[in-house]
Amino acid sequence: MAPTVLPDPEKRPRLAPGCRLAENAQQPRALQMPERVLQLNGPSLEIVQRCDGKHTVREIILDLQQIYTKTDPLKVEQDILEYLTLLQEQRALDFE
């Protein structure tokens, strides 16, 4: 198995071409990409909304640590890195 590469904290993730939030009002909060749909819960939606090529990975982590104050900040950081890695493996992100 090839080693997993965690995203660089200074890079700015952006949704890859053909990857976007669903627009059908019947199915809100889903990330669509070729032949795949990911349902988004609260935190994953907060992450995906910040994958706009403007926020760095570090900024996304700091933002979400501010929102989820009841969760251990180390866990927030870890969850975000894992989620971004998952999206990258789906080829849903470009890093700029």
Binding site: A2, G18, R20, N24, Q26, Q32, P34, E35, V37, R91
Partner: protein
Amino acid sequence: MNARSFHPLALIAELTHRCPLHCVYCSNPLELARREVELPTDTWVRVLREAAELGVMQADFTGGEPLARPDLVEIIRAARGAGLYASLITSGIPLDEKRFEEIVGAGLDHLQLSFQGAEEESASEYSGTRTHAQKLRVAGCVKRYRIALTLNFVMHRGNLGQLEEMIALAEEIGPQRVEFAHVQYYGWAFANRPRLLPTRMQLDRSLATLKKAEERLRGRIRVEYVLPDYYSKFPKACMGGWGRKVMLVTPRGDAMPCHAANVIPGMKFENVQTQSLRRIWDNSPAFQKFRGEDWMPEPCRSCDRRAQDFGGCRCQAFLMAKDAAATDPVCSLSPHRGFVDSIILEEGREISREIKTPAMPPSKVEWFYRPNPA
């Protein structure tokens, strides 16, 4: 089972059966619809709106070759307007940059470009046309726009030996996603099956190659593959289960649970010109026929896997066991598995015959080429 517990997620829109390619494994039915019976633009626009209201999330535009429809741009715009994710499944023929720009402008999210081989010669044999070079041009063009690109290599015995070259070609083009999809034996592929089915050893070798490529390209290109189910121990969850997730509309407007459902005798399909998509999804006998688990025979009925594979493919059950309600014969638990094994054995004899006549150039092979309907 209550239809309301199932929601379609994808609409497969077969816009036309017309196609400049003549692929020997085309999934279209043997009887192709002519241009004059194709649905008009406004009906497709309404169907797409009704699909979105039903909760459908994506529209896959396919054919035939959807580019053969002069109103494709309008149809894609209608899909996006309705809130759907728009995917175009195409051979890339005929497509110039000007038309492609219009298609992207209409909101296309994703283009899937089919390849018949790694180079022109063999690709031409299987598609009955010389189109490989044009496909390479289209891939280069797509890369300049912000839409997703999938390369789809259609695999079978004749081109599995080119797998390494195909992977190299995919790396060179650099799509987000590449699919190595083995031919499924329906329609024209069923007619040409004796020359398409790979051997077990060939398949095992290709699987090892694909797994290595998948690892190596992880994070760069999403690699996916579809294997021929004749060699599977358990059946595929065909269409995610009959009438559970997918709705297909044919060029003439018949709404079907899958591409091949019209091979099953006695099936009557409602037409989108006379009924709404919701009514068809909820009430049509065709969609209810194998929905849920009530129709299941043994060994499916008491099988732990019935919620994973839903009994497999109904069309395959009919094609082999002559009973659409039988367990998919590819299943190792099916009483009809012998049909599949005897087909594999018969193909092996066919291969031996081919190898005894190595002087025969590939172009002399007698394929059933799919025609282009008027």
